[in-house]
Structure formats: C-alpha cells, structure tokens
C-alpha cells in the first residue's frame, strides 16, 4: 500500500511538472537590441536575445562551470597553448548549412578579418584556428590562458552559419538583420525600437527542446510600465523591477518573483594617488564606516548582498576574505591615527545606471557623517560620467571617489583582477590594454599573482593565487567594497523552466507555459 501511495505521488509529480509544448512567451526588455552579429554585441539585452539564436563551442552553466555546447569534449595540449575541440555531429544551422570544423574556422577568420567590435577578446590570445578533420578543430594560443574557455563562451564566440557569412559578411548591418545560428530558436523579425520575434527551431539538436513555439522580446523603456504590463497579463516576463515595487509584486498571486545572485559587484573606487585617500588607514576607515548589511536590507530590499572581495561570490575564483564588518568606532579611530578627524570628500556617481546607484551614494553620505566625514555627492549623466572616470587625460583625474559596477563577461577571476587591479592597467600607464585601474592602485605582489592567474591551468593553484590576491586587495582597500547585485525576474505564474544565470543572461531554451 505504501509503495502504491509513493508511486502515485511520484506519478502526480511527474504529471504536474511535465512540460507542455506550444505557446508564445512575451519577454519585456528595457532597451532595443543593438545588433545580432555576435562579434559586435556590446550589451546584455542583445546577448539575451542572441543566446536563443546562437551557440558557442562551450557554454557557462548556472554554477558558472564550463559545459559542452557545440563542442562535445576537448583536450588541452602543449601545456595549455593548444585546445582540441571534438565537435557535435548532425547539427545544422537554421539555413540548413552543416555545422562542422570548417564553420568554426570560418567564424574566427571572419571575426579577425572583418575587425568586428569585440575582436579584442581573442586577438591577443588566439594565434590560429586549424581544421584537423570535419569534426575536430584546434585552437593554438600564443601562451597558456586560464580564461580561454570562459572567453570562448562569450557572445563573440557564438558560431554563425558560414552561408550567412558568405552572403552578408561584408555588411555588419545585414549580418545583424539576418542572424543564423544553431540555437533553439530561429530569427523571424526585428521591428526597430519595438520588438524582436523568434520562432522554434524544429531541428534543434537537443532532444525534445524547445517547448515554446515563439518568443517575442518587446521593448518597454519604463520599468514601472514593464511591471504593469506583466501584472496586466500583457506580458509574461521581465527583469529588474524597481525595488520599491518589490513587496507588492511578491504579494501578487498571479506572479512569481525569482531572485538570483550575479557576478556584478558595485563599489566605490578611491583615488589612491592623492591625499587623503593615498593613506590606507583612511581607505580602511571608509570601509568600516559603511553599513553594507543595512544598505542591502533597507535600500536594496534584498536585491543585493554585502561583498567582501573585489569578486562577487558567484564569480569563478572567489574566496571569502571577511572584508570590513560595520564598525564606526574603528573607523573613527583609524581616521584619528591618520590625522584626519574632520574630513571632506567628494563622491561622483551615475544616477539610474545601476539599481539605486544615486540612492546608495546618498545613504553612504549619511553613514560617513556618523564618523565625522562630510561627503559631497555629485550625480552625473552616464555618458559624461564614463568619459570622466575612464578618461586617459591627466586633467580628468581630479576625482576622489566614484561609484561603479563591474560584471566580468567571462564570469571568472582574471577579468576582474587584471583590468581593475594590475598596475599595467593604471590610467596613467601608457601601454594599458584594459585601462580600468582608475584608482591608480599598484601592489607588486598583486601584479605577480595576477600574472600567475593568467596562465595557470591547474585549478587548485589558480584558486590559491586568486584567494591570496583577493586578500591583499581587500587589505589595501582601493575600493569601498559595497555589494554584489542580484537579478530579480518577475513572471506570470504559468511560466516555467526559465533559467536565470549569474552572468545576467536569461534562457528560455527549456521554458514552457502551463496554460
């Protein structure tokens, strides 16, 4: 009898959870897609749309591990300077072309020769791509690179149909309007500023997928309007609702709200090149003076988590450091030791680029007041702001503190530490390749660790180096470490199987609608 009940329950579960085929999912996005040419994609919205049309050789899963995609498996040879990929057979592009080693080579040749926007991701790493046989392809690198597979999983590495490259390759706009990949959905129509429509790929190589017949990505600029459309049942899915509406959304019985941590960290950069912030005690004091728990709880309403490292806890290579727990007394004491008891500082911040960015700055202004620091908060428009803090001109380096976010597209440690903390990437170093170290931080020990991380393919050693580097950086405190962002998705109750990744991607490959 008990067995029967168990069987019955199990059956009930299966029936209850089994996916249904068919239907259209309406996904609201805040801005229009920029381009659907993988090598040119600069933004996360285009990535979300594109990932349903295209696939790369490898992919990053929800736990940020590298998993096979169009490549079934791979070998790492010659001490990490060569990767041999064994490709999946019987995969076809949406236009009927075969997926094989020639298609892979053609894509990388195209990327390099057409000089697409994101070519920098590979140019300094990949020496050449060789076809071994129809379904084997070899990438030869200049030197070992620990982030190579992660970079391959980025949108730039998505494989486009060789026929499409032949037909439209000399015109990026035509390529962008005729995206042909191997993914679960095929491109149907893009109405500029309005919507992008995809339809099911009936020959998709993953058995039984996808479930949906159609996806419509619709552009709605205002976040309140996006929320209202989902509440009204005119749309099925949106992400990043305003935190103020969060509680109401969670109470709405027709909706489900999902919160997923991401690789994006929000921090305040401290210009270490000038007093008073060249004094490590002052920088540490600022860290102790900010109550991150409170920021996350009250201001972000749970849409963020305090951070204790330059890496988000989701990023590959993260290791906890303890960070700076809230301790205003210690902050006061450190400021006293440094001889700055009545400090005046200025913080510049974007307004509206990140969730509650300006509001966070103002809250911190209040917290710093408690320890005797007067903070002047100056909001700036995003375009002007970026030009200011990422300017290579010395006359622009007069800022003291700035609020910024960083999300490594590769989701791994090197793309955080190298651009942001290696001294070769300081704003004032002439040969910087990724000049994002705009707090003028340098620590020879950290440089050395980052260089080791770059070429280390032994996982255990890589994690050791990375933990040590994080510890040193936190000690040196070139940032006020604030929080890591969560991504919140709001969807209709009937929507199932949506996958949200810490890389801020949203996949509908396995989604279905229970209607």
């Amino acid at each position: 009898m008990r067995r029967f009940v168990a069987l019955f329950l199990a059956l009930l579960c299966v029936v209850g959870l089994s996916a249904k085929y068919g239907g259209t999912l309406r996904f609201l996005i805040g801005v229009d897609v920029t381009t659907l040419l993988p090598g040119n994609i600069p933004d996360s919205i285009s990535t979300i749309v594109g990932m349903h049309i295209f696939e790369g050789l490898v992919d990053i899963d929800e736990n940020l591990k590298i998993i096979p995609a169009l490549a079934e498996r791979w070998e790492i040879l010659d001490g990490g300077t060569a990767y041999v990929f064994h490709l999946r057979k019987n995969v076809k592009f949406h236009d009927g072309a075969d997926f094989n080693a020639y298609a892979v080579k053609k894509n990388f040749d195209y990327l390099f020769s057409a000089n697409l926007r994101n070519v920098g991701v590979y140019k300094s790493i990949i020496k050449e791509v060789q076809v071994i046989d129809d379904y084997t392809v070899k990438f030869v690198l200049f030197r070992p690179n620990s982030s190579f597979l992660y970079r391959l999983a980025q949108s730039t590495g998505w494989i486009v149909s060789p026929q499409a490259i032949d037909k439209f390759g000399n015109d990026p706009a035509a390529m962008s309007k005729n995206p042909v990949g191997t993914g679960p959905f095929m491109f149907k129509e893009w109405k500029a500023g309005e919507s992008v429509e995809l339809v099911k790929n009936p020959n998709y190589w993953r058995e039984g997928l996808p479930y949906l017949d159609r996806i419509i990505f619709r552009v709605v600029a205002e976040d309140v309007s996006r929320v209202n459309q989902v509440r009204a049942g005119d749309a099925d899915l949106m992400y990043n609702p305003p935190p103020a509406l969060f509680a109401a959304l969670e109470q709405d019985k027709s909706l489900q709200v999902k919160v997923i941590p991401t690789v994006r960290t929000i921090f305040i950069g401290l210009n270490t090149s000038k007093p008073p912030l060249n004094d490590v005690r002052v920088r540490q004091a600022l860290n102790y003076a900010v109550d991150k728990e409170k920021l996350c709880r009250v201001l972000m309403r749970g849409l963020a988590k305090p951070s204790d490292s330059p890496l988000s806890s989701m990023t590959y290579g993260y290791s906890p450091t303890g960070g700076y727990p809230y301790n205003p007394d210690k902050a006061k004491q450190l400021l006293k030791e440094a001889g700055y008891e009545n400090l005046k500082l200025e913080l510049i911040t974007p307004k509206g680029r990140y969730l509650n960015d300006y509001e966070t700055a103002v809250a911190i202004q209040g917290m710093l007041k408690e320890v005797g620091v007067t903070l002047d908060v100056k909001p700036m428009e995003w375009g002007a702001y970026v030009s200011k803090i990422l300017s290579r001109k010395p006359e622009d380096w007069d800022y003291q503190m700035f609020l910024l976010g960083w999300a490594p597209g590769t989701a791994e440690v090197h793309q955080v530490l190298f651009p942001l903390f290696h001294s070769s990437n300081r704003m004032d170093s002439p040969n910087a390749t990724m000049p994002y170290n705009n707090y003028f931080y340098s620590n020879p020990k950290v440089d050395e660790l980052i260089e080791k991380i770059a070429v280390e393919i032994n996982e255990k050693k890589l994690l050791e180096y990375s933990a040590e580097a994080q510890k040193l950086i936190v000690q040196d405190a070139p940032w006020i470490f604030l929080y890591e962002m969560n991504i919140a998705a709001v969807m209709r109750k009937e929507v199932q199987g949506v996958k949200i990744y810490p890389t801020e991607r949203v996949s509908l490959a396995e989604a279905w609608i229970d209607r």
Binding site: R117, A173, V220, W382, M434, Y436
Partner: protein, 305 residues
C-alpha cells in the same frame, strides 16, 4: 498662393542646415565619448580605438560635419550604435509617432474646441466652471502620471485595454487619450478666450442687436474669426506631438521618434540624434506651413501675400 507655398518650401533649406549645425555642435559639446559608450564595459583599449577610427570620431569637427552632410545628401548614413542605415531606423518610428500624434490631436481638438466654445457661450455657468477646472487639471497634471493612472485603471484593474506596446487599434487608445487630454486642456483655454474676445467685438454686438438666433450668430459670425488663433495652437501642438511625445512613448512602450532620439542621446549616437532632430525641425516647418494654409482658407484676407 503657389508662390507662397514654394517660397515657404525653399525656406526649409536654411532652416534644416541651421538645425544641423546647432544639433551637431551641441552633441559634440556635451561630454561623453561615443566609442567608449558603444564599446561597453570591459572593452579593451584596442576595441575603443577601432570604433573611433571607423566612425571618423578621431577627425576634426569640421571634417566630421561635412562627412555627415555628405552622408545626408547621399543617403549613406548609418547609426553609430546599431550600424543600420539611419533612415530605416528613423522612418518607422516617425510613422508610429505620426499615428499617435494624429489620433491625439483629433481627440484633443474635438474635446478642446467643444469645451472652449461651450464654456465661452455659457460663461460663468457650471459648464464653464467644470471645463475650466478640467483644463486646469489637464494642464498641470504630469503626462507621465496620468498615463500610469490610466494603465493601472484600464489595463491592470479592469483589463479592458492593453497596458502598452504597439499592436492593433486597442493599443492606441490609452496613449492617445493620455496625450489628447493634456493637449485638449490647452486648446480649450485658447478657444474659450478667443470666442469671448470675438463675442465682445462691435460687429457681433450689432448682429445680436438685429435679433438673430444665438446659434446662428455663433456659427456664422463668431467661430470663423475665433478659430484662427485656435488653429495656430492646434498646429503648434501637433508639431510638438510629431516631434515625439517622449514621456507618453516611454510610459506606454510606444516605439516612437521621441524615445528614439532620447535613447540616441544617451548612447551618444550622433548620427541618429542629428538626423532625428533635422526630421523633427522639418516637420515643424511643414506643419506651420499647413497652418498658414488653413488660415488662408478660413480668412480670405490672408490669401494675398
């Protein structure tokens, strides 16, 4: 009449050139490097430099301007952000905005002119008070807020109408009413003032003294004269609406021109902003021309000249 139209059309050329120079310089004066913004966070120095060279952003401003004007004349311009031909980006959005503007201006003219006439004729009655309160509220209510209220009432709560986006006629109703109500308030005030003024003219007093029926007086003697300034206001409002009603388009997710220009400014897509503003300026001039023609139709005295 024909000479008048041709002259006005020729006047378009200096206006458009002037607008192009002004918008070109303003866009370049605001800080912010398009290459930097387009490349996205995490781009390498190499990526940014190659974008800059590709779009000639490293060249002197004068050269950039002439390249731009040449692109306009040869129809060879592409959006910096999307790399698509700029006209194929802008024209569909302009058509959307025109659709919305057209329906809104009809709604607002009907409501505004009716309310204005009624309240002028029945001055100081409850109808007058009501319509003036209505127009005061209409003028002072933020469009943004009104739009969201309408969405919450008609889309979220009652579910009678879609909450936004573009689709069938039903998608047009809420945004058109939102825009129309705000505009009708302005038109109602103008109509009322204008009708009152005409009612006080000597010739109207004379016909009143002749004992003609009131209805006939209003239609035959008052409206024709009173409507001239009203037509001006309607024309101006229509021009504004065609320029893109940014807030309404944002709230309702209406893929129009206004929102497009604003997004282009934020992404420093110079080409898109300049072409967008030139298009808006051109339509404004054309709408003004149309208004003048309507004047001439209403008031024969203006046909000479």
């Amino acid at each position: 009449m024909l000479r008048f139209i041709v002259r006005r059309l020729l006047l378009l050329i200096p206006v458009v050139i002037g607008v192009s120079i002004v918008s070109f310089s303003i866009m370049h004066m605001i800080p912010g490097d398009p290459a930097r913004i387009i490349a996205g966070e995490g781009a390498t120095a190499e990526d940014i430099m190659s974008i800059r060279i590709k779009y000639g952003l490293d060249r002197p401003l004068i050269e950039q301007y002439f390249r731009f004007m040449k692109g306009v004349l040869t129809n060879d311009l592409r959006s910096i952000r999307t790399e698509r031909p700029i006209l194929s980006e802008i024209l569909p959005r302009f058509a959307n905005t025109a659709q919305l503007a057209f329906v809104s201006i009809i709604i607002s003219s009907v409501i505004g002119v009716t309310l204005g006439i009624v309240s002028a004729v029945k001055r100081n009655s409850w109808v007058d008070t009501f319509s003036m309160v209505f127009s005061l509220v209409g003028v002072s209510m933020p469009i943004f807020w009104l739009g969201i209220l309408l969405i919450i009432l008609f889309a979220v709560t009652l579910r009678w109408l879609p909450s936004g986006g573009k689709g069938g006629v039903e998608h047009l109703i809420l945004p058109a009413i939102t825009l129309g109500l705000a505009t009708s308030a302005i038109i109602a005030r103008m109509t009322r003032a204008s009708v009152l003024e005409v009612l006080n003219q000597d010739y109207v007093r004379t016909v009143v003294a002749f004992g003609l029926p009131k209805r006939k007086i209003i239609y035959k003697y008052v409206l024709r004269n009173a409507l001239i300034p009203v037509v001006t206001v309607i024309g101006l409002q229509f021009g504004y609406l065609l320029g893109g009603a940014v807030l309404t388009e944002s709230v309702f997710g209406w893929p129009g021109l206004g929102r497009f220009v604003v997004d282009s400014i934020f992404s420093r897509d110079y080409i898109a902003v300049q072409v967008g503003i030139m298009l808006i300026a051109t339509t404004f001039v054309l709408v003004n021309l149309a208004v003048d023609l309507v004047y001439a139709f209403i008031d024969p005295r203006l046909r000479r000249g």
